[in-house]
Each structure stands twice: as structure tokens, then as C-alpha cells.
């Protein structure tokens, strides 16, 4: 559908500069809300320009430019500009075009020689902004240092900000022909970054700030105690508290346990390997937990503001598959699951974690239109239903009575989505190869329509590559297969890639999940819920106790509506976990380590006293 921009009376291109320092000479509040410094705008039809410095910005109750439904706002990473609007208390525009995700659609799966930022986008189109990379870095650093700014510095920062507005305008002109036939989807993406993402980055995840401070300030001490406790029976960590591969090899020999090795003979030490191996050798679980906690417990990088909120850029559309890609180092849900115990509602409030249940299977059932799979999804637990139909578990089995078998069935069902092979399945579930083969065969026989659809996705990817057509989700997020194809997200890129991996594209359409998540976020925010963060297939909300139930219902309704929109009427179920103050958010996978840490805190407090 081609769009004529003449329908808009005004087209306003925006850029803003901000830091995290509330007062000149103060310290930055990393994890706090942005503090606006300067905002520049250019109205493309009239050529009118606005340059507004901090003092003037703070007293303006609404923007000096039009913000009605006849105005299109254009930015590069609109969440930043709209974050400034939110801090200033300005209304969020209805129509936002964010050129950052639009540029990413052009290079998704491709090499972008100059990167995917504004400079990279300009270079892609053979354009050059008036600000060099070096100059840009210099001024960004100066802005983040904070004031006071001299008159000359102020003038340079304003010029720098306006130069980005001009660059964004040039980019819009260059990119328009690539955007116009998918403008409606571009607007949804812009609404997500400008309205929903900026809201979540503004609100943040509520954190128990006192406990966060106590743990982060005493981490070395706590780490030593955890090693003493968990490594007692193994002796794998050395004197300085680091994991020793040599000691681990000796420990495996001592216990007589086999372990996967790299081609060169060294032990495979990826967390994913540990995750699989502890299922086979549960005795090693404490070591995996400890390694995981050590690698993921980087509290000093966690962005928690002085108001006790974890705020970090969500980097929407950061992955090839268009998902958010917040930094694991600064996002609470990127850290060790044990640390999620730090999430706590404010007094009188509660947090709710609302997630789509068995979402991937539901999406596959809807998109493949496999009636058997749809029936099994709707009639309860799809993993158990598959097991019963394949006669792998008895008809009376439940999640409680057959938890381990259900886990194996889940690995198989989810694995079917991305072409998991029998060897890998056998390895993951710790069962013989013949059993894994039987499971996979049973799935293909019970759900033949899904099997054919899944194969077709791969065919479509390869054949599409031949005629230069990228793979696309239902909302036209593409991925271009490169010379070596497209690797499944979550796998490591390495030079030994043997070539195209068909399974990489087998589950690309499952990225409808990301489209669904974005719509759900937009609807939830618009309906007045305090949406804190998106987490894979879940939303975290925060509400006063007397409104919590209502807000959960609103969120669930929004998620159901989003699934209906994306899946053409097919509605996915949602589950809810509620944690009311003083209860902490807790993930059962991290509870052991969290309890251990909390058990150590009284002693830490005493020693500090």
C-alpha cells in the first residue's frame, strides 16, 4: 500500500540531547530518568526550525510545534526523543516514524559496513552528515559529563543536535522509496519505540534499592562465601575464586563423568553445555549455578536509578529477528535469575508477570493451521497432550505426576519448531537415540500439517533467496539470507560456519511473537497500565494493590487482542504470577542461590557494623 505524505500537514524531524545529571557539577544517576539538555526540530514543509535549551525546555508545558493528528514525527531511535517528551510531561504524538528500525529492515541479516546507527544509515545511502564520528563522540562525551556549559559549548551542542536533525531529514528523503509500501507497518514500529518503549524506559522495573546496594557493595565477600559453600565437595574454583578448567577436568575424572569436548580436545564450557549436562549429571548443578551467578551477577553494571528503578535502553529491533536486545549487564532480566529477587513492588503495590502460555506452540499451531495441534493447544497442556497421543506417557499423567517426562516432551515439541535433530534431542533429554528418534517421528505423524508447514518455511527461505526476496514476518519484518544463509538467533557466529543451515529459517515466522509483543505493549500502555518491561514472551506490570487485579485483566486482554490481530483471530492464553509487597519477584530456578545470598546478608551487615 503506497502512502502519500501529503496527508500530513506537518512533518517534524526531531533530535534531542540529554544526560543523567540533575544539577551542574553533580554525579550521574545511571538508571535514572534522562535530564533533557537540548531539543532541535525542523518542520520539513515550511522549513521552520526550533532549538530549545534546557532552561526553556523545562518551563514549556507543551511543544512549541504542532502535535496533532495531522503531524508526522520523524526521528532516529524515537524512544530517546519521546523519553524526553515524557520527562517534560509533553503528550506523545500519534504518528511516529522511527528511521532506526526502518533502516534495520534494509540490512537485517546483512553486513552494514558503517554500522546500524545514524552514521551507518547515512553511509549506506552515500550521504554524509555534517558531524564526523569523532566530533559526534566528543560532543556526546561532553554532554554526558554534564554542566556547567560555556556559551560556546552550548552553541556547539545546539549545532551538533541540529546537524543530526538535518541528517535525519536527508535520510528520510533517501529512504522514503523503501518505506512507503510498508508505511503502515513502519508506523506500528514507530509507535512501539516512541510510545511503548519510551514509556517502559521511563518507568523502569522496581528494585529493592537497599538490598541491591548491600549486595553490590559486598559482592566479593558474598562470592567467596558462595564458593566455599557450593564448591566444597568439588574443589574446582582456585584461590582467587576463578573457575579452573584444569581442576574441573580433574573433578570429572575423579567422578568418572563424560563431558563434551571441543575439536581441539579442550572441555566445552559453554553455559548451554552445562545446562544440558546437569540434567544428565545433577550432581554438578551447584557448579553450574555458581558459574552462572559469577558471570551474570554483575551488579556494578546494573542500571538502577536513585529512585530504585532499573532503567536501561531496551534496544528495540536490536536482533535480526527484531526482538528487543537490552544489555544483559544493565538489565535486571539479563542478569542471573537469582537476582530477580531484587525486584520488589513499592509498599502498597504489587508486580505481576503476565506471560503467554506455551506461546511458540500456539503460534505454530495458528500459522500452520494444523487442527490437531490447535486442538491440543486449546485442550490444556500441549506437551502432555502430545505425550499422551504418542503413548509416551499414560493418559492420566499430569504436570505434577510426570514433571520430568513433561520436560522431555517440551524439549521435543519446541525443538520441532527449529528442526532439532535426534542426536541433539537425545543429548538434551538424556535418553537413548532410538527414543529421541521415536519422539520426533511421532510428532511428525501426529501433526503432519505442521510438519509440512515447517518444511515449507525452509523451502520458502531458500527459494526466496534465489529471487532476492527476504523472509518476512506477518508485519513485514524481513531477514535477508546472506551468502551463508541465516543462522538461528541465539547461536554463536563463528568462522567455521559450514554454510547455510536450513533450520535457521525454519522458525523465522515464529517471530510473529515479537510483533505480538510490540502490539501488546502499545495496547497495555495506552490503557493506562504501568508497564515496566517486556521479557521474551511476558510483560511485567506494577500497580497499587487496589488496582492490581484490574490492571492484570487489562494486560491479559491486551495480550489476547494482540495475539488475535497477529494470528488472524487465534487467541493465545496467558498466565499470571503476582508478587505483592513485601513479597519479592522470584524465579524458581534462582531461588536456591537467592536464599543463599540472603542467608549471608545478616553476617555481612554485622561485619560492616
Amino acid at each position: 500500500m503506497r502512502v502519500d505524505l501529503s496527508g500530513y500537514k506537518s512533518i517534524i524531524v526531531l533530535d534531542s540531547e540529554f544526560n543523567f545529571i540533575a544539577r551542574d557539577g553533580g554525579r550521574p544517576d545511571i538508571g535514572g530518568r534522562p535530564v533533557p539538555l537540548c531539543l532541535c526540530a525542523l518542520e520539513l514543509r515550511s522549513g521552520t526550525r526550533w532549538t530549545i535549551w534546557r532552561e526553556e525546555l523545562l518551563i514549556l508545558r507543551s511543544p512549541p510545534f504542532p502535535i496533532d493528528n495531522n503531524t508526522l514525527f520523524v526521528a532516529f531511535v524515537a524512544s530517546a526523543e519521546m523519553g524526553v517528551f515524557r520527562v517534560l510531561g509533553w503528550p506523545i504524538p500519534e504518528h511516529i516514524l522511527d528511521l532506526s528500525p526502518e533502516f534495520r529492515t534494509l540490512v537485517s541479516g546483512r553486513y552494514a559496513p558503517a554500522g546500524r546507527g545514524l552514521i551507518g544509515a547515512l553511509a549506506h545511502f552515500g550521504l554524509a552528515g555534517s558531524t564526523s564520528v569523532v566530533e559526534k563522540d566528543t560532543w556526546r562525551d561532553r554532554i554526558l559529563e554534564g554542566g556547567p556549559f560555556s556559551a560556546e559549548e552550548r552553541a556547539r551542542i545546539e549545532a551538533y543536535c541540529m546537524s543530526d536533525v538535518e541528517a535525519t531529514s536527508m535520510l528520510l528523503t533517501a529512504m522514503w522509496s523503501k518505506i512507503e509500501d510498508k508505511f503502515q507497518f513502519a508506523l506500528i514500529r514507530g509507535t512501539y519505540t516512541g510510545e511503548a518503549q519510551s514509556f517502559m524506559e521511563y518507568v523502569g522495573v522496581p528494585i529493592d534499592f537497599d538490598t541491591f546496594t548491600l549486595i553490590s557493595e559486598n559482592w566479593d565477600h558474598i562470592d567467596a562465601q558462595l564458593i566455599a559453600r557450593y564448591d566444597r565437595d568439588f574443589g574446582i574454583f582456585d584461590e582467587v575464586g576463578s573457575f579452573s578448567e584444569e581442576r574441573f577436568a580433574a573433578c570429572l575424572n575423579r567422578l568418572g563423568l563424560p563431558w563434551p569436548r571441543l575439536p581441539g580436545g579442550r572441555l566445552e564450557l559453554k553455559d548451554r553445555t552445562f545446562e544440558s549436562m546437569v540434567k544428565i549429571h545433577p550432581i554438578l548443578r551447584p557448579i553450574r549455578e555458581l558459574r552462572h551467578v559469577q558471570s551474570a551477577l554483575r551488579l556494578h553494571t546494573m542500571a538502577v536509578g536513585l529512585d530504585g528503578r532499573n532503567r536501561t535502553p531496551l534496544w528495540a529491533f536490536g536482533s535480526k529477528t527484531s526482538r528487543n536486545q537490552p544489555s544483559n549487564a544493565s538489565f535486571i532480566f539479563g542478569a542471573s535469575v537469582a537476582l530477580r529477587g531484587l525486584i520488589q513492588a513499592r509498599p502498597g503495590w504489587g508486580v505481576a508477570y503476565v506471560d503467554w502460555s506455551q506461546q511458540e506452540v500456539g503460534i505454530a499451531a495458528a500459522l500452520s493451521e494444523d487442527e490437531e495441534l490447535m486442538r491440543d493447544y486449546f485442550s490444556g497442556d500441549v506437551y502432555l497432550n502430545f505425550g499422551k497421543r504418542a503413548a509416551l506417557i499414560p493418559g492420566h499423567a499430569t504436570k505434577a505426576t510426570h514433571e520430568a517426562q513433561r520436560e522431555s516432551l517440551k524439549v521435543c515439541v519446541l525443538g520441532m519448531g527449529y528442526g532439532l535433530g535426534a542426536h541433539q534431542l537425545a543429548f538434551r533429554i538424556g535418553r537413548p537415540l532410538i527414543y529421541a528418534k521415536q519422539m520426533l517421528k511421532a510428532h511428525r505423524m501426529l501433526y503432519p500439517v505442521h510438519a509440512r508447514w515447517s518444511d515449507h518455511n525452509v523451502e520458502e527461505a531458500v527459494l526466496g533467496h534465489l529471487i532476492g526476496r527476504p523472509l518476512e514476518t506477518c508485519f513485514r519484518w524481513p531477514v535477508h539470507l546472506g551468502a551463508k544463509g541465516f543462522r538461528r538467533y541465539g547461536t554463536d557466529d563463528d568462522d567455521d560456519d559450514p554454510g547455510y543451515r536450513p533450520n535457521s529459517s525454519r522458525n523465522f515466522k515464529m517471530q510473529a511473537n515479537a510483533e505480538m509483543m510490540r502490539l501488546a505493549c502499545i495496547l497495555t500502555v495506552r490503557r493506562g497500565v504501568e508497564l515496566c518491561a517486556p521479557i521474551h514472551d511476558a510483560l511485567l506490570i506494577h500497580a497499587p494493590l487496589d488496582r492490581l487485579e484490574h490492571d492484570i485483566a487489562v494486560t491479559q486482554a491486551a495480550m489476547a487482542e494482540a495475539s488475535r490481530i497477529v494470528l488472524d483471530g487465534f487467541e493465545l492464553r496467558t498466565d499470571v504470577k503476582v508478587f505483592c509487597y513485601p513479597q519479592r519477584y522470584m524465579d524458581k530456578r534462582g531461588k536456591g542461590v537467592w536464599d543463599e545470598i540472603m542467608g549471608l546478608l545478616p553476617r555481612v551487615k554485622k561485619e560492616r557494623a
Binding site: 559496513p113 552515500g126 525452509v458 523451502e459 531458500v462 551468502a483 551463508k484 544463509g485
Partner: protein
């Protein structure tokens, strides 16, 4: 200066792919391919399978020593959708007996001279199934055929796997010859 500016739309200095690695084997289940239709890009060879590797036995005396283990195969040149070249050996009938795996593979290789196909094994019928796109947009898309000659491709693919000596280590091991 304008000429030096990076332009992804046109900025591709002319290059041609020179294959330095040519795998030997059948196409994967989702590897759409075309068979190189040019004369001379397929031929018959005596092959020997040993410890999972495929050898070309070009020495007549060596062939005589392991005659019963030899298989006559036609080696086709195939190219996938990403421009990767593979040599695909397909067994010829032995003693007048036809193997359905081989005959179905041979048919697929022949069809692939005209259109893009992929093969998938079907153990229930003991043969490969050939899948091709519904004719349409793909019809005019031509494969990126290798620039090297068939002999050059064979030399690259079988560099380490040519038995040109009756005392080749593989022959000696098969015949349990010590020393």
C-alpha cells in the same frame, strides 16, 4: 571524490568465485540445487568407500586388487541456491541390479538440469523424493555455475582421496597387508 564514495547499490568490483573447497556428497534435505548441464560436468568413476570417506581408484592394478569392493558411480556437479558447488556421486546399477535409492537420485539429478529441486529420503518407500517449486517466478533464475573445469573441481574435491598406487595405504589396510 564522488567516484570514491561508498555506494552499496553499485560498488561491487567485479570478482568471480574460485572454488578452493569442493565437498563430495549428496545434497542436504533442504538444499535446493541445480545440476550443471554442460557437457563434461558429469562422468563415471570407480570409487571405494573406506572408513566413511570416498576414494577414486584410478590405478588399474589397485582396482584389480579390491575389485569386489569397488562401486561404479556417476559424479554430477551440482550448485545450490547460495552458489556452493558440490560433487554428487550416484551409484550405477551393479550386476544388473538397480537400487531404488540410486535410481531415484539419478532421476533427481536429471530433473535438476532443468529446474531447482531438493531431495528428501523416504525410508518407507526406500527412495529419495524429489521436490520442486511450483513453476513461476523461479523459472528464469539460473544457477551460478562454477568457473572451473570439471577436472579442476575433481582434483580439488578428491585431492586427498585418489588411489593411484596398488600399494596405497587404503589398499594395504583392506588387504591386511602389514609393514
Amino acid at each position: 571524490m564522488a567516484a570514491a564514495r561508498y555506494n552499496p547499490e553499485v560498488d561491487t568490483l567485479a570478482t568471480t568465485k574460485i572454488s578452493t573447497e569442493v565437498p563430495v556428497g549428496k545434497p542436504g534435505p533442504f538444499q535446493f540445487f541445480r545440476t550443471d548441464p554442460r557437457p563434461g560436468y558429469a562422468d563415471l568413476y570407480w570409487t571405494l568407500e573406506f572408513e566413511g570417506d570416498q576414494y577414486l581408484v584410478i590405478n588399474p592394478e589397485a582396482r584389480a586388487r579390491v575389485q569386489r569392493l569397488l562401486r561404479l558411480k556417476k559424479i554430477f556437479t551440482i550448485v545450490d541456491a547460495f552458489g556452493n558447488t558440490t560433487l554428487w556421486p550416484i551409484g550405477m546399477p551393479t550386476n544388473g541390479k538397480t537400487n531404488r535409492w540410486h535410481s531415484s537420485a539419478m532421476k533427481a539429478a536429471e530433473i535438476a538440469t532443468e529446474q531447482w529441486v531438493r531431495i528428501e529420503s523416504n525410508r518407507e518407500i526406500g527412495a529419495y523424493e524429489t521436490w520442486g517449486p511450483v513453476a513461476g517466478e523461479l523459472t528464469p533464475v539460473e544457477p551460478r555455475l562454477p568457473t572451473q573445469s570439471f577436472d579442476e573441481l575433481m582434483n580439488i574435491a578428491f585431492a586427498e582421496f585418489i588411489i593411484d598406487d596398488p600399494d596405497h595405504p587404503v589398499i594395504r589396510r583392506l588387504l591386511f597387508v602389514g609393514g
